[in-house]
Amino acid sequence: MSKEYEAVIGLEVHVELNTKTKIFCGCSTAFGGSPNINVCPVCSGMPGSLPVLNRAVVDKAISIGLATNCNITRNSKFDRKNYFYPDNPQNYQISQLYYPICRDGKIEIETENGKKFVRIHEMHMEEDAGKLIHNTFTGETYVDFNRSGVPLVEIVSEPDMRSADEVLAYLDKLRLTVQYLNASDCKLNEGSMRVDVNMSLREKGTEKLGTRTETKNLNSFKAIKRCIENEFERQADILDAGEKVVQETRRWDDDKGYSYTMRSKEDAQDYRYFPDPDLVPLIIDDEWLARIKASQPELRDEKKERYAREYGIPEYDIGLITEYKELANIFEDGVNSGADPKKVSNWIIGETLRLAKDFETDIADISFSGKNLASLIKLLDEKKINNTIAKQVFEHVFKENVNPVEYAEKNNLIIKTDTGALAEMVKKAVAANPKAVADMKAGKKKAMGAIVGFVMKEMKGKCDPAEVNKLVMEELAKL
């Protein structure tokens, strides 16, 4: 009979920081250019070149550390991790083993089972490797050092997670925190956030940790979930058969839906870590820490609380809006421009998310201003446009961040306040739709739509349907 197991999961998360330059040289971190154009003697490992630390990397690392309740190491150092591989131009990676920048943090997560803390063991700064491009035709590998030296922080959790849901909650919380801090865009599919899953099983109710595996190459939250479920089954089968789990590094194949061995313990690397003599210690004093603390932006949990308190919008709305820093920015910008919070919220969780889906826009890339959304709402409130027109205009706000007033005026979309003309049109409509009028009189209220629709069509939408309704009723009463 098979036993009942519990998963014990810890994560190693690499986050690429969004500084302008690399961690140890003045090369641009711009992404997606032609190979080897953002490369200098330092980040291509030329002899005699020397690293000099980028201040912004330290600022961002401290900022993430503070937001995840870590202790900031006041006297931090860099070490060399030695291993030969062509994407690593010096054949050592500059990292932090002995004195990482942050230690002993924790993040609160919430799942269906309630709230809990996941502890962070440590967080360190290091340099990214270059890219290897495989040419299966020639059987050669091409090396591109554009990414070599791009700053990373690696956030190592304690093995505190027990399920895929907890893992996803932790990752989502971490992603949002880092995004809110403007330290990284955290895109799993583009590799600016990379997750390695360390996992072992133990019998429920026992304390002793089992042998763990590490799984790499997880490019989406979905892949992580599947991988954890798959690894649970795999390890459970091994344990049920009375065999032992092998400590190894595995690679997830998302197409095939399973993982396979990359490296086993036998050929585990001996990295020969030692303090990098080319870099001096990093001493974080009170002043530095205070400066970062003072410039910490409001994080999601704080925002959620404040939105509820200050704006009184529903929790559901708050959840969706604060899911992305970009949406929260638009929301606050809109409210600060004088629009009603609930109305702004409706436009964000309604039209905005719908358009993002339709146009396949990454939500993090949405960049229209909340001020423009506020003036659109104002046009509506003042009945200068109707809902249909508003949606049309909003599409342009969404795509091109147009000023709604200018746009509506330029395209002649503003409702004419000429009531005389409207009254004329209503008379015309009543005259042209005798059947609808007869139906109305017979009590078929639905028939109203035909008359109002006629007016709206004739007026090319530039009128307020409520106003039209009123005039039609008055006209009918006269008959």
Binding site: P47, L50, R80, N91
Partner: protein
């Protein structure tokens, strides 16, 4: 009109003054030294690369600037040689190794850049022990350099090419580098003057690293005045080197003073116990007494920690070297083996064919002391011992302005003599390595000659960033030694 010989008989500073005064042109000076290179290279092999054409072009350019009334420094137009460990844009920079036998950097080391900005003319790149690992200049891929005093002897190392070139007068002055004595010991063996500056004084940017926490660039020249002038030019803060010191006390020529009155000089008794040549001992102790005559207070004391310096040094230097030299892998530059089966095979063959025996020996030792299970016992232990050595020096410098010692226990060794027994060779570094471990500055200058007429070097150490004190002591001694100073037979 000066003859080539007369030009070469000037020191670098004297030559610089005459060039500035338009008595001699930089082209004439450059030709005079190129001529001497022609005369001496076949016998001593001091250069890996001689840049005759480039040097003359540059000298001509400098002469035009001088004609326009521009004076960039007191060494403007002076022809110098550069150790091949320092990168120079578009110039072969081999580090004495096959693995960099075809490497043309796209950048110039900061120290050389500073010289170029001062108007110095570069004659060529000098020979050295491969990757600066050695004390004989025999391990160069480009053949051994011979000592101009005796062609059967080594010039010392690793800056043996620079020392031999200065001693043979085939350059007005040179740059060397010093990780465990590589400026001071060849200066001693070749009877010239050299300074190993305080760690951080001269930017290491563009210096191909051996032991990063120990490496330092410095001048090698005909006298202490030239050394001070060169050091003044090459030192200073560099934002490309995190370990570069940001200080403004770099006016070293201001301390060229003939005065040691009241200066406190300590002589470590434990440096004169065993393994030291009688002639070296006699001459160095005589130099100490000379200082007393000149008005200094000389005291003999026990420094301590002497026998632990070499083991600590070799562990640290080799550990750092094993990592620094990982980048030589046949991927980005330099040699790649022509035949290989896969990536790992390419790495191993490239490195095994590209590095010489001494380099491989140190890489192996360094990789071992950093490896899992041995790191604490060897590497961390050595860093603790380094702290103790630093303490010993700090407490000595509480009492003394200068610590005086020999540079090496012997004068120049015969070629081949030390190759068979590496540890014996390492023991020759007993007086020099502590200076690198503690980061302090030291001058090496001639103080006498042994029974075979070979030069003996005197080492004057000062506390961190106190180069000026060492320069002042060296200048004062040099003035008193003028009558006795000899040149190598090749000098003329």
């Amino acid at each position: 009109m000066y003859s080539s010989k007369e030009i070469r008989n000037l020191t670098a500073v004297e030559l610089g003054r005459k060039i500035a005064d338009k008595e001699i042109t930089s082209v004439q000076a450059t030709k005079a030294y190129l001529e001497q290179i022609e005369n001496t290279e076949k016998s001593i092999n001091a250069y890996i690369t001689v840049m005759a054409e480039k040097a003359l072009e540059r000298a001509d350019f400098i002469d035009k600037k001088i004609a326009d009334g521009e004076i960039w420094s007191n060494l403007m137009g002076v022809p110098m040689a550069i150790k091949d460990v320092l990168c120079m844009k578009d110039t072969l920079t081999s580090c004495g190794s096959k693995i960099l036998g075809n490497f043309y950097p796209t950048y110039t080391s900061t120290a050389v850049e500073n010289l170029l900005n001062a108007g110095v003319v570069v004659l060529g790149k000098t020979n050295m022990d491969e990757f600066a690992m050695g004390s004989t200049t025999e391990s160069s891929y480009f053949g051994a350099t011979k000592n101009p005093w005796d062609l059967n002897r080594v010039p010392g190392g690793s800056s043996g090419g620079s020392a031999a070139a200065v001693a043979a007068n085939s350059c007005a002055a040179a740059l060397g580098t010093d990780t465990g004595g590589s400026i001071r010991q060849p200066a001693s063996f070749c009877g010239i003057t050299g300074i190993k500056p305080t760690y951080g004084r001269v930017s290491r940017y563009g210096q191909i690293a051996y032991g990063s926490s120990l490496d330092q660039i410095g001048p090698m020249a005909k006298d202490i005045t030239d050394c001070a002038a060169i050091l003044e030019i090459i030192s200073g803060h560099d934002c490309k080197d995190s370990t570069s010191a940001d200080r403004d006390d770099t006016d070293f020529t201001s301390s060229l003073e003939n005065n040691v009155k009241g200066m406190k000089i300590g002589v470590p008794k434990d440096y004169f116990l065993d393994g030291i040549d009688e002639d070296v001992k006699t001459n160095v102790l005589a130099a100490a007494e000379k200082f007393r005559e000149l008005g200094a207070e000389v005291e003999y004391f026990d420094l301590g920690m002497v026998k632990y310096a070499i083991p600590a040094y070799y562990i640290i230097a080799c550990a750092e070297a094993s990592s620094n030299l990982e980048r030589f892998d046949g991927v980005k530059y330099g040699y790649r083996t022509p035949k290989f089966t896969d990536l790992n095979d390419m790495y191993k063959k490239t490195r095994s064919e590209g590095f010489g025996d001494e380099v491989k020996r140190r890489i192996m030792l360094g990789s071992f002391v950093l490896s899992s299970g041995y790191f604490d016992a060897y590497y961390v232990k050595a860093l603790r011992v380094k702290a103790l050595i630093k303490q010993a020096f700090d407490s000595a410098f509480e009492k003394y302005d200068i610590i005086l010692s020999p540079v090496a226990p012997t004068t120049a060794l015969k070629i081949g003599e030390s190759l068979s027994d590496p540890i014996k060779m390492y023991l020759g570094d007993v007086y020099t390595v502590s200076i690198n471990l503690t980061g302090i500055p030291a001058v090496s200058l001639p103080c006498g000659y042994d029974k075979d007429g070979l030069p003996i070097g005197l080492q004057l150490m000062a506390q961190t960033f106190n180069e000026k004190t060492a320069i002042k002591a060296a200048y004062t001694f040099e003035q008193s030694f003028k009558e006795n100073l000899r040149h190598s037979p090749m000098y003329e």
